[in-house]
């Protein structure tokens, strides 16, 4: 059972006015015209990745990483030859990170390069199509 004093309403009016000013502005036309990224959800835990889609069209690819594990993990995207294209940095337990890259058609390696996590199983691939 909850009872509030109605007098708080007037105090609320002041707060409402303050908060109204905090509502973000509408997105700009430029932002709307920008080519949308294809998002790949990735879950990390000891010691594997779950990749929510295995292939994407070429262009801007956004990786949404969530660490469901107990240890810190990262996500590194590299070419098959081992050239690193981008990395999230270390993501703590229960935390998230976003990595956005422009990818040409081909196959890319996704690994966690912390300690020996990749050797233990945290490695997978992503196919980028034409």
């Amino acid at each position: 059972m909850v009872a509030w004093r109605m007098g708080s309403l007037l105090a609320g009016t002041v707060l409402a006015t303050v908060l109204l000013a905090a509502v973000p502005a509408a997105p700009t036309a430029d932002a709307r015209r920008r080519t949308p990224a294809t998002t790949v959800g990735v879950g990390a835990r000891e010691y594997r990745f779950a990749e929510y889609r295995a292939s994407v069209p070429r262009g801007v690819v956004r990786f949404d990483l969530t660490n469901y594990g107990e240890d810190g993990h990262d996500l590194v995207v590299e070419t098959r030859g081992g050239r690193v294209l981008g990395r999230t940095g270390k993501v703590g337990s229960g935390r998230r990170a976003v990595l956005q890259l422009h990818l040409a058609p081909g196959t890319y390696r996704l690994v966690c390069d912390l300690a020996n996590h990749a050797a233990l199983g945290m490695r997978t691939t992503l196919r980028v199509t034409r």
């Binding site: 909850v2 309403l9 707060l15 409402a16 959800g41 929510y52 997978t124």
Partner: protein, 440 residues
């Protein structure tokens, strides 16, 4: 029992996410029995989604991959469904069978399972949840083997899902043995399957809740759901989601009898709870706190606002109820616990979004400063879906409207439309966030 707009609003809020003014009037005319049938059974042909699909600044939702889109996807269902009770029960089962920290595709699959079984057989739902990959991984039932039975699922099955009490530590150990045998398989891209492997199952003799035999997973589920403590436990839990005051012993007995007679179907006791006079007590003084999900989805639905922004996800996280991420296997703490200072601040902020982006936003030229306080209140009240408002709230808001222009020279009042619109925005915001709006 008489049947008025107020009865319809109470039922629609408790069983779903509120009533629009048109719904309240139409169902008040059609009467109590017809309304209850529609609410409980849903429309002929099943649930449909009505209105425009979510469009977030030109982007369609990608619930599997984009963080937070899973939440928006579900909120959208609550806003647009023609069968709100099904979504409410899906939310209730998400709390009852709380699962978290699992990959989004698995959580969305579990959500579909909960929705499919929301109002059917509890035994069937329990069987589906027991085999659900997200639950299996969350409570370590997957890969619990005869060599090393894991007790997590067996314990929560009895404590939280079916009985509450009346079992022993030995029952937990024996149930854990009987539930062994589910085995997971992974590829480099994630989970492939969880399958039952008889060679990993302990097929020895167990004694569980007084029954002895070579018990397997389904025997465990049969034993806990036919145990004398199960029906009172489950109907009491269901009641707590719909009515703030605890049920009497007689009510529990009657609901449990209804549940058992139906063969452990969920719909009959839910129908009995939604028909119970206690649900309609004190129509002008509601006492059940809206949980954040119901507050957000209800505010959108009753104001005719669709999902076109992504604020619901992070606001629900700040309000303390992010769907697909309950705090523990025991689910969320309900009732007044929802009303923390931070949560209330976010509820206030939601009002800002609704009067800025939603249907209740004030159009230029729509609210002259020359309206009387009563007219100004009426206009704001209509714009936010005619929510239930106490006499005290109305008096306070009309007082605010009366003095809103005190600093303005009366000669300028005719041309001060912008001040009239500011008053409308304030009144609409307060109607969406005032104490009356936090309860249902």
């Amino acid at each position: 029992m008489s049947w008025t707009d107020a009865h319809v609003r109470r039922l629609f809020w408790r069983a779903g996410f509120g009533a629009t003014p048109a719904e309240a009037r139409a169902w008040a005319k059609r009467g109590r029995a017809a309304t209850l049938d529609w609410v409980v059974d849903g429309p002929p042909g099943g649930a449909r989604l009505r209105g425009p699909a979510p469009n977030i600044r030109g982007r369609r939702l990608d619930p599997v991959n984009v963080w937070g889109d899973d939440v928006l996807w579900w909120i959208d269902r609550m806003v647009r469904t023609t069968y709100p009770l099904q979504e409410k029960l899906t939310l209730i089962w998400h709390d009852h069978f709380a699962t978290a920290q699992q990959d989004t595709p698995l959580m969305l699959a579990q959500n579909r399972t909960l929705r499919r079984g929301a109002l059917g057989s509890f035994r069937a739902l329990l069987g589906a949840v027991t085999r659900d990959p997200a639950m299996q991984l969350f409570l370590s039932l997957a890969d619990s083997t005869k060599q090393a039975p894991n007790e997590n699922y067996a314990r929560e099955l009895m404590e939280l899902f079916t009985l509450g009490s009346g079992y022993t530590e030995r029952d937990v150990r024996e149930a854990a043995r009987a539930l062994t045998g589910f085995s997971s398989r992974y590829s480099t891209s994630g989970l492939v399957s969880i399958a039952y492997r008889p060679d990993q199952h302990d097929d020895g003799v167990k004694t569980l809740l007084g029954r002895r035999g070579r018990l397997g997973p389904d025997d465990v589920l049969d034993l806990v759901t036919t145990h004398r403590r199960h029906a009172p436990f489950l109907v009491t839990k269901l009641w707590s989601y719909f009515v703030a005051t605890p049920p009497s012993a007689g009510t529990v007995r009657a609901l449990a009898a209804t549940y058992r007679r139906s063969g452990l179907q969920i719909k009959p006791p839910v129908r009995a709870i939604l028909s119970h006079p206690a649900l309609y007590a004190n129509l002008d003084a509601p006492d059940l706190v809206k949980c954040p999900v119901v507050y957000v989805a209800g505010a959108l639905r009753t104001t005719g606002t669709y999902v076109t922004q992504d604020y619901a996800t992070w606001m629900l996280e700040q309000m303390g109820q992010l769907p697909f991420d309950p705090p523990s296997v025991a689910g969320w703490d309900w009732g007044p616990a929802w009303m923390s200072s931070n949560s209330m601040c976010q509820r206030f902020a939601l009002g800002n979004y609704l009067v800025t982006w939603g249907r209740p936003r004030v159009r230029r030229g729509s609210a002259p400063a020359t309206l009387t306080p009563s007219q100004a209140f009426q206009r704001a009240w209509s714009a936010v879906g005619e929510p239930p408002v106490s006499g005290a709230t109305r008096a306070t808001l009309e007082h605010l409207a009366k003095h809103f222009f005190d600093d303005l020279d009366p000669r300028w009042r005719d041309t001060a439309g912008w001040r009239g619109e500011a008053l409308q925005g304030t009144l609409r915001h307060l109607l969406l966030t005032c104490p009356d709006s936090q309860l249902h």
